[in-house]
């Protein structure tokens, strides 16, 4: 198995209910960006949550393996798993407003993980935080460390979350729709920043998004999900040139593009929905609704 994160036949289902993820298999190579694309409810966020061990309580992993750097996380005890994830993985969340504690200053929110979990000294952690804030282009980092989240704009908050994600030099970062809440102009800056940071630090990045436009800008490879099942795993360029699965092609055709007003925004045809639905049913028949 090559790559930093390898997910094999991962199935997640509602406790006492139906499947949420259906035998998901994907690889994220070290230093690469892998996109997870799908419509809402397709389960793309759940893959990231399963890796991080933060699935909602109502969900459980029913089968599969999650290999992180050559070790199957699901074979570890919960304590070992938490420690391993804490030391190697970080998250860039979707909503920059709720991800920061409104009643604490920015500085301690970045340094806390370094001090509490990784055992850095306070001075070292603070130096690191200043360095990172400068790296994500925050003007006057010393002052920003002392501010509260509500004093900053959405774009600034997202920069801080990015800095905080890279603080402990993780090997893998999971970005869950990190720019959905932002304006396009700010989104561009943030995506550019994520891409730069990722390249500079050589981090593997699992990038969850609903926007194929964004995928084409930041990802090296991607998986398309429908109803918790991977419809297509592809290298980025090949996907946009020749999508293999009809659902992928339909999704691409539905994505708005201002350059081609007539050819974009085609609704996903019924026949394509039928095709994927049949595949999902076939999967469930073969593996049971586990």
């Amino acid at each position: 198995m090559s790559g930093y994160l390898n997910i094999r036949n991962l199935s997640v289902s509602l406790r006492g209910g139906g499947p949420i993820l259906r035998s998901v298999t994907l690889d994220v190579a070290a230093g690469q960006v892998h996109g997870l694309v799908g419509e809402s409810g397709a389960g793309k966020s759940m893959i990231g949550k399963a890796v991080l061990g933060t699935l909602p309580r109502a969900l459980q992993i029913t089968a599969g393996e999650i290999w992180l750097d050559g070790q199957d996380l699901l074979k570890l005890s919960p304590g070992q798993r938490r420690h391993r994830i804490g030391a190697t993985t970080a998250l860039i969340p979707q909503d920059p407003l709720t991800a920061l504690n409104p009643s604490r200053r920015i500085g301690p929110q970045i340094t806390r993980r370094l001090v509490d979990i990784l055992g850095w000294t306070k001075a070292a952690a603070e130096a690191r935080a200043l360095e990172l804030l400068a790296e994500v282009d925050i003007p006057d980092p010393r002052r920003v460390m002392r501010t509260y989240p509500h004093e900053l704009s959405g774009g600034m908050r997202q920069r801080i979350l990015i800095a905080s994600a890279f603080a402990a030099e993780p090997k893998l970062i999971i970005a869950d729709e990190p720019t959905t809440a932002l304006d396009v102009t700010v989104q561009k800056q943030i995506l550019r920043l994520i891409a730069e940071m990722q390249a500079r630090h050589g981090t593997a990045l699992l990038f969850v998004t609903h926007d194929l436009g964004v995928v084409s800008k930041v990802c090296d490879s991607l998986s398309v999900l429908y109803a918790g099942k991977i419809v297509e795993n592809a290298r980025m360029r090949r996907f946009f040139m020749h999508p293999i699965h009809p659902y992928s092609a339909a999704l691409l055709a539905a994505t708005p593009t201002y350059t081609n007003p007539q050819g974009s925004l085609m609704p996903v045809p019924e026949s394509v929905i039928e095709t994927v639905e049949q595949e999902v049913t076939a999967h469930d028949r073969r593996w049971g609704r586990r």
Binding site: S216, M236, T255, Y258, L265, P267
Partner: protein
């Protein structure tokens, strides 16, 4: 002219900076906008967050009262009309909201949501009209007995459209109506809206942050930035040769699903 807007200013009190005594300072949201919406036009209003585009929409429907300037709807000055005077006219300008979950009363069934405004304006036979509206937006008639939370995002937005068109308005304002939807439902809702506008001969103002969606639908575009119009042009002209720096910045920022686009 359906709408004539002249030198429109709107400011709101900033409650977060209100001193203990005395009035709160006011923030200017709209700073002197002038434009027309001709009969039968599909006008796009585009801008980033904080550009004032939603405030403009709400002022046009007189959910907010402008500070100065004027709004004329079909020859009637509605800038400072009282709610009671507006009430009988309200049937003629309708709105579809951004968030269909929040704009549909969660405790009423779809049928009641669509029929409510009809009864208010004294339409005969509201039941039949509800069915007809559901037909027009492509929802099964049985949906009349469902609650909004039982529907998908795209279906909810169709209910929002049905509620607006059931009143047979002259003008509809659509405020970011597809920004919360998946791309596949986006396409369906936009196609539906386009069809209805054509069939019913509606005038439409379409507010969006997404130039791609605007281009798909609109014949003319107004670009807003910080409460001012920075550019107003026919769609083709705007995309071929954007004049304002802000328009160009907006266009350059859109990530197209095309790996060869020069972007970063």
């Amino acid at each position: 002219m359906m709408y004539q807007i002249r030198d429109l200013h709107l400011s709101l009190p900033d409650m977060t900076r209100k001193p203990l005594l005395g009035p709160a300072p006011r923030i200017n949201i709209l700073n002197g906008l002038s434009f027309d919406v001709p009969q039968g036009a599909v006008l796009g209003i585009v801008g980033g967050s904080g550009s004032g585009k939603s405030t403009l929409g709400r002022a046009m429907l007189r959910l907010l009262e402008p500070t100065s300037g004027s709004i004329t709807f079909d020859g009637i000055d509605i800038t400072h009309q009282r709610e009671a005077e507006l009430r009988s006219m309200r049937r003629r300008f309708q709105m579809i909201f951004q968030d269909p979950m929040s704009s549909l009363n969660p405790r009423r069934r779809v049928g009641g949501i669509i029929a409510g405004p009809l009864k208010l304006h004294g339409f005969d036979n509201p039941r039949a009209r509800v069915d007809e509206a559901l037909d027009m937006v492509g929802l099964p008639r049985s949906f009349a007995s469902r609650y909004p939370h039982e529907l998908s995002g795209g279906q909810r937005q169709r209910v929002g459209i049905a509620r607006a068109i059931a009143l047979r308005p002259d003008f509809i304002l659509a405020d970011e109506i597809v920004s919360g939807l998946d791309v596949s439902s986006q396409a369906q809702v936009l196609n539906l809206l386009e069809e209805l506008v054509r069939e019913l001969g509606l005038t439409l103002a379409f507010i969006s942050h997404d130039l791609s969606v605007i281009r798909r639908l609109c014949s003319r575009i107004v670009v807003l930035h910080q409460g001012k119009i920075v550019e107003e042009a026919e769609t083709a002209a705007l995309f071929d040769a954007p004049q304002a720096e802000y328009t160009r910045e907006l266009m350059r920022a859109i990530p197209l699903p095309d790996p060869d686009q020069v972007w970063i």
